[in-house]
């Protein structure tokens, strides 16, 4: 056995034949196709070579965390089930999960080891259909994450905190969320780099929304500034289900986020809101793809971006309206604020419409801070630097403000302020 085979034999679910098969098939595809490169249309602005050419470590090492490092991120005010992962692995000591009727909630490793039936029925059904390099890699080496199965009613929120410390670890978080008929689920995913280590995170989430179900999904990506992260979300929506996602990212040296929504049942609705903020030489790439498969579905997407220094962002929003998807209502917006002459954004709305009775709108803008607003603040005695930070904060805060969860909003405001060059100056304005 070589090192890689040894590693795979130790991964969760190794004794469950269905899981083993899933991993092996993914590995075969991975060995065949490898990682995407710039020749791939979906990756033409994002070179992943710096990430995939590095030798990150698959082995888990013991780390010790200091309470004061964690405290700000634990969201102790939030009434939620909390699952904490350190360098990709579930850490029961920091977690707090209580029994609740209508809810099965456990770490992905546990679900894989048990061979949970619901898990087996869904795992890989949505992601692996479109198998690209990172999806295959995750399925082959997925280690931990959360497994959520809501069978009835509305459960309290689930908070999944992924902490990263130290150098060199590669982690493969995998989440599966199954929300059954008429039930609701709220999931907060927070990825935090606690120090400035270089590591890689390749994640997948699959979510299935059965008829009349609701999933609210918050994602905060604040990996270390030297980290590499790729996250793929696959959302399968049945009739009259509703998916709301709020995506914040300002971490990682290189980050790629893909959101794929398949509107497969009539009357389904999805809403994607997001904010990306880049500094220094960060590269932040957001790709979304919404497939309107059937009639009477609605989709909404509103992303904002702020780029400073020499950072670069990519936004690509695809909406496919398939021939049966009459009465589709789709709108998409992407607004970008460039704070430096060297910052860059490539924004591309992409609509492909094969039905004739639909309503689709999209818009993209790239601009700078409004001079009149700056002058207004200055004329009230606010110095130029603070005025710039206030307007930048205001631009970003608009997205934070949409988050329908007060505890999370407060946390995001705090984190956002730390991202601004002179955040302390404007703290008192809020």
């Amino acid at each position: 056995m070589n090192e890689l085979e040894q590693h795979m034999a130790q991964l969760a679910g190794a004794k469950v034949p269905a899981i083993e098969r899933l991993r092996k098939e993914a590995l075969v595809r991975f060995n065949d196709k490898g990682y995407p490169d710039l020749r791939d249309e979906d990756w033409k602005y994002t070179n992943v070579n710096p990430m995939v050419s590095k030798d990150f470590n698959l082995k888990v090492e013991e780390v010790s965390l200091k309470q004061e490092q964690l405290q700000a991120h634990l969201l102790t005010d939030l009434d939620a089930h909390r699952l904490v992962f350190v360098n990709g692995v579930f850490t029961p000591d920091l977690s707090q999960v209580s029994n609740a009727s209508g809810l099965t909630l456990m770490s992905m490793a546990q679900a894989l080891n048990e061979g949970n039936e619901v898990l087996l029925a869904h795992l890989g059904q949505y992601a692996d259909q479109q198998a690209a390099g990172f999806v295959n890699a995750n399925t082959a080496w997925m280690e931990d994450g959360i497994f959520v199965h809501v069978t009835e009613g509305q459960t309290k929120s689930i908070y999944a905190l992924f902490l990263h410390v130290g150098e060199g670890k590669a982690s493969y978080p995998r989440n599966l969320i199954v929300v059954e008929n008429n039930s609701e689920c709220t999931l907060i995913e927070n990825h935090v780099g606690l120090d400035a280590g270089s590591y890689a995170s390749t994640g997948i989430m699959e979510a299935v929304l059965e008829p009349n179900s609701v999933l609210r999904h918050f994602v905060v990506q604040q990996h270390s500034p030297k980290a590499y992260s790729v996250a793929d979300h696959f959302i399968q929506q049945e009739a009259h289900s509703q998916y709301y996602t709020y995506n914040f990212q300002w971490g990682s040296r290189l980050a790629r986020q893909d959101i794929n929504v398949n509107l497969a049942g009539q009357g389904a609705h999805c809403s994607l809101d997001g904010l990306y903020m880049g500094r220094e030489r960060q590269h932040l790439d957001t790709h979304s793809r919404i497939d309107h498969m059937v009639s009477h579905c609605t989709s909404h997407e509103d992303y904002k971006g702020i780029l400073d220094d020499r950072s670069r962002a990519v936004f690509n929003g695809k909406v496919f309206v398939h021939p049966d998807a009459q009465k589709t209502d789709a709108n998409q917006q992407n607004k970008n604020l460039l704070l430096s002459k060297q910052a860059e954004v490539d924004t591309k709305p992409q609509l492909e419409i094969y039905a004739d009775d639909v309503k689709c709108a999209h818009g993209a803008t790239v601009g700078q801070l409004d001079e009149t607003s700056l002058f207004y603040l200055q004329s009230r005695g606010i110095d130029l630097t603070t005025a710039k930070d206030l307007l930048t904060f205001g631009f970003a805060h608009d997205v934070v403000n949409r988050v329908p969860c007060e505890e999370l909003r407060t946390y995001l405001e705090k984190m956002l302020m730390e991202q601004l060059t002179h955040g302390d100056n404007i703290r008192e304005f809020l």
Binding site: D370, E371, T372, S373, F375, Y376, L377, Q378, S379, R380, G381, I382, D383, L384, T386, L390, L391, F393, G394, F395, A396, H397, D398, N401, E428, F429, L430
Partner: protein
């Protein structure tokens, strides 16, 4: 307090808007600058407050004995110059009360005074708001966001009342106000009249001047002050409109 001499101003890279303005404003005086659209009224207000994008090609502006034009807008504010905007700007995400407090404290700091704490400031601002019949809820809303036209103008006067400027320039503060709001705003302005303070009212119409009586009225047309007089000049303008200006300028040329 303010000495403008032969001021020539153009938009950057474009034609001249102000073509030789002379104006002297002393403490305690109220001046009205009237004129038709496009005469350069707002340009004059903006250049005094330090807005970018203009090019001063000739002339000088002295404020309290110093060159005003080389100061940043915030320095001018700290030294007691205030501009009430014709179109107050919405600033999403920034609470009204904190803008007011930060502006005042920056100014106090500039003058070597202690900053006001939250409690003292709140007491001060509530007092001023009562006079302007403003609801306290305004304090906790984002600056001007979703305010009606009248609310925005009242908010400008509130800012002025808090900052207590030495020289206040009010750009079309009466525009977009109904008669009740106009009266409240005018009361707010009158409350600030004092022997130490000068006011410059920039306005197209005379109606604000019914409530805030100016000591001097200047008529601005095509970038020049073509006539100056007492408050009776405003009434004259109201009666005959601005058409006589065109006639007289045509006669000049």
């Amino acid at each position: 307090m303010l000495e403008i001499k032969n001021l020539h101003v153009g938009l950057e890279g474009e034609k001249e808007i102000l073509k030789g303005i002379d104006l002297s404003v002393k403490a305690g005086e109220v001046h009205a600058i009237m004129g038709p659209n496009g005469s350069g009224k707002s340009t004059l207000a903006n250049i005094l407050a330090g807005r970018e994008g203009y090019n001063v090609t000739d002339g000088t502006v002295q404020y309290q004995g110093n060159n005003l034009l080389d100061k940043s807008p915030e320095e001018r504010a700290w030294e007691g110059l205030f501009l009430a905007f014709q179109y107050p700007v919405e600033i999403p995400g920034v609470n009204n009360i904190y803008l007011l407090k930060a502006g005042l404290n920056a100014m106090r700091k500039h003058h070597g005074l202690d900053e006001l704490d939250a409690m003292d400031f709140l007491a001060l601002v509530k007092d001023k708001m009562k006079a302007l019949k403003m609801d306290e809820a305004f304090l906790y809303r984002a600056v001007n966001e979703g305010f009606s036209g009248g609310e925005k103008k009242r908010n400008e006067i509130l800012q002025m009342a808090i900052l207590e400027p030495k020289l206040a320039i009010l750009d079309e503060t009466d525009s977009g106000l109904d008669i009740d709001a106009l009266k409240i705003v005018a009361e707010g302005i009158n409350a600030l009249r004092s022997p130490e303070r000068a006011l410059v009212l920039v306005t197209h119409y005379q109606r604000l001047l019914d409530y805030v009586k100016p000591d001097f009225v200047h008529v601005l047309s095509q970038g020049k002050i073509i006539k100056s007089g007492g408050s009776e000049l405003a009434l004259e303008l109201e009666k005959s409109g601005y058409s006589w200006i065109d006639d007289s300028q045509r006669a000049d040329s």
